[in-house]
């Protein structure tokens, strides 16, 4: 992946792909932090003005499966799910899909709020490497990275997105 794709272009594509799935029973849930940023900007794009779509933010720190190895994340944010989860069609939003473990944690957390009618997953980039039987229904871009590569979504002060790729040695 020599040239990183333009995150803004991917974002437009993601929005277009999500739009058809929206009904009055849909709720968007962004995963802290990249997924929450995406959701914030998706909301005005995909929900007609005045028709506020149910939405929330999850910080999955309390549900992570690497807690016993890595401890609690030093910066946790309160999860905010200010709508009735029961019977809702939820679209989880995240920036980069990798092993699937974060999504597993997010689904567990969601179920502690109630029983949703369905959950689907939309991500900006699917970088390959999943370790669980979980995959995004929607992704704006697919690629294959090695485990020592770290793809991250970042946000500029003006709200614009960009991607970075780090090689961990």
């Amino acid at each position: 992946m020599k040239n990183l794709p333009d995150a803004e272009v991917l974002f437009e594509q993601l929005a277009e792909k999500i739009k058809p799935l929206i009904t009055s029973e849909t709720a968007l849930v962004g995963i802290h932090s990249g997924g929450a940023w995406l959701m914030e900007r998706l909301l005005p794009l995909i929900s007609p003005a005045g028709n506020g779509l149910a939405n929330g933010i999850l910080d999955v720190s309390f549900y992570r499966d690497d807690y016993s190895q890595r401890g609690l994340h030093t910066e946790t944010r309160p999860s905010q799910i200010p709508f009735e989860v029961e019977g809702r069609h939820i679209i989880l939003i995240d920036d980069v899909f990798y092993t699937g473990r974060t999504i597993r944690a997010a689904m567990n957390e969601l179920f502690d709020y109630g029983r949703p009618a369905s959950i689907s997953l939309a991500v900006l980039v699917n970088r390959g490497g999943r370790e669980l039987p979980i995959a995004p229904q929607i992704s704006a871009y697919e690629t294959t990275l090695t485990p020592d590569q770290n793809l991250q979504l970042l946000r500029q002060a003006d709200g614009h997105f960009y991607l970075t790729l780090e090689e961990n040695s």
Binding site: S68, L72, E75, T76, D112
Partner: protein
């Protein structure tokens, strides 16, 4: 001197006292507690962090309230909880504290929550437990009650987020109070510029001003323009004797009445660690009044204890 509460790389290993805790760790605990406040409002009020872990509440001194909040906190983290009131079992048969600890360690306890009537008991236990075990001080003698100090700081931060601008008064039996010591350390660490203590000389420790507090003996003077009034419980055994003549005189001089509270800022909040002696240190009109945040303190206490336990158990 190595701080016995921290690991070699500066993470929280035990919570024994707020004194000496880096400000970053205090803030991490309070921030994490914010996340746990929300958990209590969910359908399932539980998170799986401490699944498979065993938390042992070891109470060498009785305290239903503190014990219960620690129990709830541990259970909401999905831990298995054992509660032992040691004052009524093995201690009376001559078993030492450390024998009790060794026995529970052999039963694979991962965390001890310890309450003891002697200052320094939690430090002693922390010094002797196996390396993988975490110790939380739930009150040792007059020394410290760090989770109470933290939950009080948390409560204040929720109502008065500008901690750099606050004037706080702690009123009552400072001499015998582990709560007061922990509150003082928590508030000064978090940058509260003025912490006052208000008490008669018989209920103040020697050199108390070295803890960074301003000393007042006259309650009316001490309450002037404060943002927060923290009342302390007066133990029954102090109500008459050489320290104080009577609970009536104490109420008159140091009890918080609406009339005295009026000297504080109009939006001042009133706190109390409970259980309250109504009519001794606090008037019912104040305890149940609109400035009182005594019940929220109890609610936040669970979130703060969940935060402490989950941070500790993750630092292996």
């Amino acid at each position: 001197m190595q701080n016995p509460q921290l690991t070699n790389d500066g993470k929280l290993k035990h919570l024994l006292s707020i004194e000496g805790l880096p400000k970053a760790i205090i803030k991490q605990i309070l921030d994490t507690a914010e996340s746990f406040v929300g958990v209590a409002e969910r359908e399932v009020k539980k998170v799986p962090l401490l699944r498979g872990k065993t938390v042992c509440n070891l109470f060498f001194e009785n305290s239903t309230r503190t014990r219960t909040t620690f129990e709830i906190a541990a259970k909401r983290l999905s831990a298995d909880v054992i509660t032992l009131n040691v004052s009524t079992s093995s201690q009376s048969k001559g078993e030492t504290i450390l024998d009790t600890i060794d026995n529970l360690t052999a039963m694979h306890a991962d965390m001890f929550v310890v309450r003891h009537a002697q200052s320094g008991a939690a430090h002693m236990i922390a010094k002797h437990v196996a390396p993988h075990i975490h110790v939380i001080n739930a009150g040792d003698g007059r020394h410290a009650h760090p989770t109470q100090g933290l939950l009080d700081a948390f409560t204040i931060r929720r109502y008065k987020p500008e901690m750099h601008n606050l004037r706080v008064a702690i009123v009552g039996d400072i001499l015998h109070s582990r709560v007061a010591r922990s509150e003082i350390h928590a508030l000064t660490s978090l940058g509260v510029p003025e912490v006052r203590v208000i008490a008669p000389k018989t209920l103040l420790p020697e050199n108390v001003e070295k803890l960074g507090v301003h000393v007042f003996h006259d309650m009316r003077e001490g309450l002037k323009d404060v943002d927060v009034v923290m009342m302390l419980r007066l133990q029954n055994e102090r109500m008459a004797g050489a320290m104080l003549p009577s609970s009536q005189e104490y109420f008159k001089t140091y009890g918080l009445t609406p009339e005295k509270l009026a000297l504080a800022k109009p939006d001042a909040i009133v706190m109390h660690p409970g259980p309250m002696n109504r009519g001794v240190e606090i008037d019912s009109a104040v305890a149940d009044g609109k400035q009182s945040v005594i019940l929220p303190q109890v609610t936040y206490g669970i979130a703060v204890r969940m935060a402490v336990m989950s941070i500790l158990a993750g630092n292996s």
